[in-house]
């Protein structure tokens, strides 16, 4: 699956920053910024799923919103298909939106309560005047079928559906324009566990069927493991580790990733007891005032003085395995190698 690495990336993010201005008041001259995304770079290759994982407030959703220009980037480039999205005019961007779509987290807020399912799914097609009349109708019914919703529900309103069904409607809407890239912003975290896997399987099926590329944002590792080819771990606005799924889950190199992996509940008690649990202590520091040096040092079990003063860079420690740490864990299980 992953020989696509040699291909041209479909999306390339370079030094992306998104700062929110926190300074308020007319007479307050002091500028304060919340650095939601603080200089991240990554590449997404055609046909792959890049998972972005991190705690709430680490900037993963902001990244997704900036890619779609629902928020304007403070700095950096978002090169999609050879064009920098952040520099496109409103009109050019509108054209480009056909190729990038989004699936939202909350299926109860992402569908207009006053629109019928048919109109919701038809909206992208109407907005871009792709289809009309009979053709539009057929296309919408086709999309409903693809995501597994009976077309007899076309005239119903969103409130008549369950969370999973609503998410399917959201997916149908995202598929309507045959996009190349879909940004999935925590698409399953609002759903029941049993429904989660259904939606994840649907997303995988659609990816094969339509050669889609996903950026899959989530805070839960199980969903990420299920669907991703490569995974980026974000902490306080930065990518701290970027690797293929197997590399990341088998031998995480960043202490934060290790902590995240260790926090996933293990169903088998014997395996659970044999594993040493690494508990991440403390809370996420405020992104308005991130710690100096390595951002993770306040919660890291291995931190020393160097970590408190010097900020590490994202370096490729192994083939395709990037980590931002002075003392990456090289054997996975908590063995510190200097």
């Amino acid at each position: 699956m992953k020989n696509s690495i040699e291909n041209q990336p479909l999306l390339e993010i370079k030094g992306l920053k998104k700062y929110f201005d926190l300074s308020s008041g007319l007479f307050n001259k002091e500028k304060k910024f919340l650095k939601a995304v603080d200089g991240i770079s990554l590449e997404v290759y055609p046909g792959e799923t890049l998972g972005i994982v991190g705690e709430s407030g680490c900037g993963k959703s902001t990244t997704g919103n900036v890619i779609l220009r629902l928020l304007e980037a403070t700095e950096g480039q978002i090169i999609f298909d050879g064009k920098d999205l952040s520099k496109l005019s409103k009109k050019e961007m509108r054209e480009k939106r056909k190729d990038i779509q989004m699936i939202f987290q909350d299926p109860f807020s992402s569908l207009n309560p006053r629109m019928k399912v048919f109109d919701i799914i038809a909206e992208p097609l109407r907005s871009h005047k792709v289809a009309a009349g009979k053709e539009l109708k057929n296309r919408v019914y086709e999309l409903m079928e693809v995501v597994g919703i009976s077309k007899s529900f076309a005239n119903r309103y969103p409130h008549e559906f369950s969370g999973g069904q609503r998410q399917r409607i959201g997916i149908a809407r995202a598929l309507a324009l045959k996009p190349k890239l879909i940004v999935c912003d925590e698409p399953v975290s609002a759903l029941d566990v049993s429904i989660q896997s259904q939606i994840l399987n649907l997303l995988s099926k659609l990816q094969k069927e339509f050669q889609l590329t996903y950026i899959f944002i989530a805070h839960g590792l199980p969903a990420i493991k299920h669907i991703s080819d490569r995974v980026a771990v974000m902490y306080l606005g930065k990518i701290v580790e970027l690797a293929t799924k197997d590399q990341l889950f088998d031998s995480p190199m960043h202490p934060y990733t290790e902590g995240l992996l260790s926090s996933v509940p293990v169903p088998d008690p014997q395996i659970r007891d044999s594993k040493e649990r690494i508990i991440l202590e403390g809370d996420l520091p405020s992104p308005a005032n991130p710690p100096l040096g390595c951002r993770f040092h306040t919660r890291c079990a291995y931190a020393d003085d160097k970590c408190k003063t010097e900020e590490p860079q994202l370096v490729e420690e192994r083939d395709g395995h990037f980590v931002m740490c002075h003392y990456p864990l090289l054997q996975g299980k908590g063995v510190l190698v200097n």
């Binding site: 056909k98 989004m102 939202f104 992402s110 007899s152 005239n155």
Partner: protein, 310 residues
């Protein structure tokens, strides 16, 4: 309710239901109306008032301006001294109260409904623009709103009416122009919260243009609060019109409105209470009817409450 696609006859309940729904929108709406007691009551009241206003010359037993010095301040028929010739009694100049209340409905209804329409449309449009675009448009419009709120409405009315004179059209326009701010405020607030909802972000990420977002996503979702405020405003407008009459800047005699009758009847409250009571009652009942109707309309427009349909 825009795309009511006639579906192929199918076997499932849903499809049958959808088809039966698509027959005739008028009949469908009427059936929906009959299902709600509030809606029906409101509809009957409003319809009655409208018919009264339109056919006032045919319905009224007397000329509303015909004076009869011999029969001044006659009480209603059920009181001592009342006659069946003047069911609601007569006023201080001996004019038939019933005929006056009937004729008064014309002007009151026109002012109440149209000034709310004028104010509502200005407020709705500006509120949506301010809330949706934010930034300087929002700042500018909201400062204008603040300015309007800072000046007492009645003062503003006095100045404008003093300059332009008072007739039906100016009165409607002026009442509309001075009242739009409450709508603008309300709508803007609603839009601000709506704007953060995912479905608006979804529409933007799809590439839907601003106009469509405002019409298809925002407008239908602010409509219910808008309807409620509008129907309540009809009442306030009628009262403001009454106070204008009281100050001599409202409807000028011989034209009559309920508000005018209310304010002139005030002087005789101690002796002939019916002079103010009947126009007041007429206002109350009309406003109640409009509120009922608005309530029903709000319910029907909300897809979530349509589960009550068969």
């Amino acid at each position: 309710m825009s795309t009511n696609s006639a579906m192929e006859p199918g076997t499932s309940m849903e499809e049958q239901f959808e088809v039966s729904k698509g027959i005739n929108p008028w009949i469908r709406w009427f059936k929906l109306l009959l299902r709600s007691k509030t809606g029906t009551t409101g509809f009957i009241i409003v319809l009655t008032v409208c018919i009264t206003a339109i056919f006032a010359p045919q319905i009224a037993p007397y000329d509303p301006d015909a004076m009869n010095p011999a029969n001044m301040n006659a009480p209603p028929v059920w009181l001592e001294g009342g006659t069946s010739a003047h069911i609601l009694g007569t006023d201080s100049l001996g004019r038939d109260m019933l005929s006056r209340v009937i004729y008064g409905s014309q002007v009151s209804l026109l002012i109440g409904v149209f000034s709310v329409i004028v104010a509502g449309s200005i407020g709705l449009v500006l509120g949506i623009l301010a809330g949706y675009y934010g930034r300087w448009i929002d700042n500018l419009l909201m400062r204008v709103v603040d300015a309007f709120l800072a000046v007492p409405n009645i003062l503003l009315l006095l100045v404008i009416l003093g300059i332009f004179g008072s007739n039906l059209i100016t009165l409607i326009l002026v009442l509309g122009v001075t009242n739009w701010v409450i709508y603008a405020r309300l709508v803007r607030g609603e839009v601000l919260t709506l704007k953060e909802r995912d479905f608006i972000r979804a529409a933007r990420s799809i590439g839907t243009n601003d106009r469509t977002i405002m019409f298809k996503h925002i407008l239908p979702n602010v409509f219910s609060s808008f309807i409620v405020i509008s129907t309540l405003s009809v009442a306030t407008t009628l009262i403001i019109e009454a106070s204008l009459s009281f100050l001599g800047l409202g409807i000028q005699p011989p034209t009559i409105s309920w508000g005018y009758m209310l304010s002139t009847g005030r002087d005789y409250l101690a002796t002939s209470w019916w002079l103010a009571t009947f126009p007041g009652l007429a206002i109350t009942i009309t406003v109640l009817g409009i509120i009922f109707l608005g309530d029903w309309l709000r319910d029907v427009l909300d897809p979530r409450s349509q589960g009550r349909r068969p």
